[in-house]
């Protein structure tokens, strides 16, 4: 019976969930349209080389691979932002605001709320730079989650430049830097300290790196962060975050944002701010994004850009746990039919559907049952009557 099963980490979306998913997609698609975004739909299959030759290559153990007829290796799209960046650089000549609803595939996802086929909705603002662009993108992320009906979420904002700057002062090689990054990302100061001491980092630098895991909270973290380092790159990151924070407060989102300078993500094409949407009902972000000014270089363009993606499955789980799923939409009308009255029944259905009513035409000649919908019609040779 194995041929009837699905591989692990993927799911069929059944009607009840799919209806809700469609409703959320409708809301988001409208929001994207009203925000001036153009929809795109990237191809699912791409060349393996596209993702292995770029500077921030996707590790091959995460890629779903297939072989093309000419023997070249193909992959199922592992990241939508990479695909959009490629499209913008190679086909759209740079500046554009793009939105998408697309799957990405990850060979390694752990199961649970992280499947291997991940359906995302997202936007990318290509050719836009500066603090206002960052703040606007975060504001739009908030608008989108509001529009989807999610309550009580916060957007956690960081900046990769702070960590990068602090680490510059440590004298680590690339492999050591990556190790420290992973440890700081896990807020594991203990082992980070060991590596830094071995590399001979100064006491002040060491203290800064070890303070990173605690540098989160409201805008007050900026003062603390500033007192910890003189590094120019780190200082620039804080100054930028201050601007973004100030703009978001003026835009009315003070209670929706918090900051974390210890955020140092794995997928490292990000070059500036990074942010994620968190809600207490779910142990993983429902939204994540950031600025990636140098990603398009790999595809032959120079396009500063910022964007975010919403994990639609996670969003649905969050909405369900909050009890904020869109309400059920029962059938408005059912049309039953006796033998010989088929064309009349069909015309009745067409007329009801034209009024915008969800109408089911029963083709099994069943007797009319008034409990089926608010309006039940029976078509006979004598005509149509409401039951």
């Amino acid at each position: 019976m194995k041929y009837r099963n699905l591989p692990f980490g993927v799911q069929d979306v059944l009607p009840e969930e799919c209806r809700i998913l469609d409703e959320i997609k409708r809301r988001l698609a409208r929001k994207f349209m009203l925000g001036g975004f153009e929809p795109v739909s990237p191809a699912a299959l791409e060349y393996y080389d596209t993702y292995s030759q770029i500077r921030n290559a996707v590790p091959q153990e995460h890629l779903f691979k297939l072989t093309d007829t000419d023997g070249r290796l193909l992959v199922l799209r592992p990241d939508v932002t990479l695909a959009i960046s490629r499209i913008a650089a190679t086909k759209l000549g740079g500046a554009s605001r793009l939105s998408y609803f697309a799957d990405k595939w990850d060979l390694q996802s752990a199961g649970g709320i992280s499947g291997r086929e991940i359906y995302q909705a997202g936007v990318e603002c290509l050719g836009e730079e500066g603090a206002f662009s960052d703040a606007n993108t975060i504001a739009f992320a908030i608008e989108c989650l509001n529009e989807a009906g999610l309550k009580g979420f916060i957007i956690d904002v960081g900046h990769v430049g702070f960590f990068k700057g602090v680490l510059e002062d440590c004298g680590l090689n690339e492999a050591e830097s990556e190790k420290v990054r992973a440890l700081i990302n896990a807020k594991d100061g203990l082992n980070a300290e060991r590596i830094l001491r071995k590399a001979g980092a100064s006491e002040r630098t060491l203290n800064t790196v070890l303070a990173l895991p605690t540098l989160f909270g409201g805008a007050e973290v900026f003062d603390r962060a500033e007192s910890l380092t003189e590094n120019a790159c780190a200082r620039r990151a804080i100054a930028h975050l201050r601007k973004v924070s100030d703009l978001l407060i003026r835009m009315g989102y003070e209670d929706k944002i918090c900051f974390d300078l210890g955020t140092v993500r794995r997928l490292s094409y990000y070059s500036g701010i990074v942010f994620s949407g968190l809600v207490k009902e779910l142990g993983a972000p429902v939204l994540s994004g950031g600025r990636y000014d140098h990603l398009a270089d790999d595809f032959g363009g120079k396009i500063p850009a910022v964007g975010f993606a919403i994990g639609l499955k996670r969003l649905l789980i969050g909405l369900e746990r909050q009890g904020n799923l869109p309400p059920e939409q029962p059938l408005d009308a059912v049309v039953c039919c006796e033998v010989g009255a088929e064309e009349l029944a069909y015309r009745t259905y067409l007329a009801l559907a034209a009024e915008g009513k969800r109408t089911r035409l029963r083709t099994d000649y069943a007797a009319a049952d008034a409990s089926e919908a608010a309006e039940v019609y029976l078509a006979t040779k004598e005509g149509v009557k409401r039951v």
Binding site: A186, P213, F216, G217, D260, V279, K280, G283, A284, P285
Partner: protein, 208 residues
């Protein structure tokens, strides 16, 4: 409410004692019970008693906001969570141990390593560029070199008395400070920071 995943057994008792010092009402943990979900009388804390190796899974998924797990388990599972504090409990070392001189060196060119920490062992030896054969065992690891199943073991060593009694020695200390760590779910730390941060501060105070 903060949900805690605690490893059943001795570590749970030590963890409870530590939490009590920080003003957490842990009286439910002291009662003899078969219940798996316990709630503190003041309704502030919920406790799940789980298998030690399952603590990171509960915390990563967010079902538990905080957990107390051994560093050995955290190394082995590499979950996406925050390691907030070294609680200093249950100190031991992750070591390579075996007979002082290797037997069967000619007929088994690859070092055979018996361990319950398969992922950690793979990582340790591959970082050194060494080809080894990893043999996964679930307990009584010391038996492997004695019976000839493996050349060495990669396991936690507390006092070393089991090794000694069987003629084995620590060949190399790979991770010297394997202790219990306070771990936090990445989202909970931000969304429940008002409740979690004071507790972490208190725990930090208690263990320093």
């Amino acid at each position: 409410m903060i949900h805690f995943a605690l490893a059943k057994g001795r570590l749970a008792e030590e963890s409870a004692a530590l939490l009590e010092k920080c003003g957490v009402d842990v009286s439910v943990l002291k009662k003899e019970t078969r219940k798996l979900v316990l709630e503190s009388a003041d309704g502030k804390y919920g406790f799940f008693l789980v298998k030690p190796t399952d603590v990171p899974t509960y915390v990563e998924s967010g079902v538990a906001d905080l957990g107390i797990a051994g560093k050995d388990t955290l190394l082995e599972q590499d979950k996406d969570l925050y390691e907030m504090l070294d609680l200093g409990l249950g100190g031991c070392r992750l070591c390579i141990a075996g007979y002082p001189a290797r037997r069967d060196a000619l007929t088994s060119p690859h070092l055979r390593v018996a361990t319950k920490y398969v992922n950690t062992a793979k990582r340790v030896f591959s970082e050194r560029g060494e080809d080894v054969e990893i043999i996964h065992l679930n307990g009584s690891i010391e038996l492997a070199p004695i019976t000839g199943l493996a050349d060495v073991i990669f396991d936690v060593v507390q006092t070393g008395s089991t090794l000694k009694a069987n003629g084995l020695v620590v060949l190399e200390e790979v991770f010297p400070d394997i202790t219990a760590r306070l771990v936090a779910n990445k989202v909970s730390l931000k969304t429940k920071s008002d409740e979690i941060l004071p507790l972490i501060a208190a725990l930090k105070e208690a263990v320093s």
